[in-house]
């Protein structure tokens, strides 16, 4: 990569991204955050957890909040202790019933295996202090990822 040639290791105080609600832009955003934390005192496990939890959150924003019609997503990631605080904002439709989905695991009945519905379960299993608010026309989600 031509970038970062002769770069000095630097851990940014805060990472912010704004990008369209589109699977490839989501992929690049996850890559950018992962790279952006490279020189930070955050464990590889914590970064991997961030990548998975944010992937689930962002896929839901693309598919459900924006219903695959596109829109703008904003992410902030900040260090906190050895862990991370993440914020995600979108201007799509609100969560069903104005609250976070429970994240119950679908059954594993061999006759009718689920192909979806795992997202909120993973988010809840891996994050702490999950908080959702609707502010005007925006969805604001905030959570903590513990040091690992």
């Amino acid at each position: 990569m031509p970038a970062r040639t002769g770069a000095q290791p630097a851990c940014p105080r805060r990472l912010r991204l704004v990008f369209p609600a589109d699977p490839l832009a989501v992929r690049q955003a996850l890559h950018d955050l992962h790279e952006g934390l490279r020189d930070c005192p955050v464990s590889p496990q914590c970064r991997a957890t961030m990548e998975l939890v944010l992937a689930e959150v962002l896929n839901n924003v693309v598919e459900h909040a924006y219903a695959d019609r596109g829109g703008e997503i904003e992410i902030c990631v900040q260090r906190s202790g050895g862990g991370l605080v993440c914020c995600v904002a979108d201007s799509g439709r609100p969560m069903p019933h104005g609250a976070l989905p429970p994240g119950d695991l679908p059954g594993t009945d061999a006759a009718d295996l689920p192909e979806g519905g795992f997202g909120w379960h993973l988010i809840r299993a891996l994050s702490r202090d999950l908080d959702y608010r609707r502010e005007g026309t925006r969805n604001l989600l905030r959570f903590h990822l513990p040091a690992m």
Binding site: P23, A55, E56, P114, E115, F118, H121, L122
Partner: protein
């Protein structure tokens, strides 16, 4: 979506030569596997040793492929990296699939 196939007796090993199975490629993964699975091997081993990242869309696609095989055939998984294994564990889908510890048997001989 680069997936290579290798026959070995009544088994076929499908090796995913990609870093990620995520929302951006889940449908491509399913479509490509559907094509490749025209073969009649009763056991299909999915070699995920190159896949460092799989999200719930990717998991859903793997389940969909298992269902495509129908009742007479079996999908088994091999070579799961730690990040991928974690997703199977957290969603209990590790109880649904036969998961081999190492690379698929047919490749083990070669390597």
């Amino acid at each position: 979506m680069d997936i290579s196939f290798e026959h070995s007796g009544d088994m076929v090993v499908a090796r995913v030569n990609e870093n990620r199975i995520d929302a951006a490629v889940a449908i491509q993964f399913k479509d490509r596997m559907r094509e490749l699975l025209q073969t009649a091997a009763p056991v299909v081993v999915l070699d995920l040793s190159q896949v460092a990242f799989l999200d719930s869309s990717g998991l859903g696609a793997v389940v969909a492929v298992m269902k495509l095989l129908g009742p007479g055939r079996r999908l088994e998984l091999a070579g799961l990296t730690p990040g991928v294994l974690r997703v199977f564990r957290l969603t209990r889908m590790d109880s649904v699939f036969t998961i081999h510890d190492a690379a698929p048997p047919s490749l083990r001989h070669a390597g």
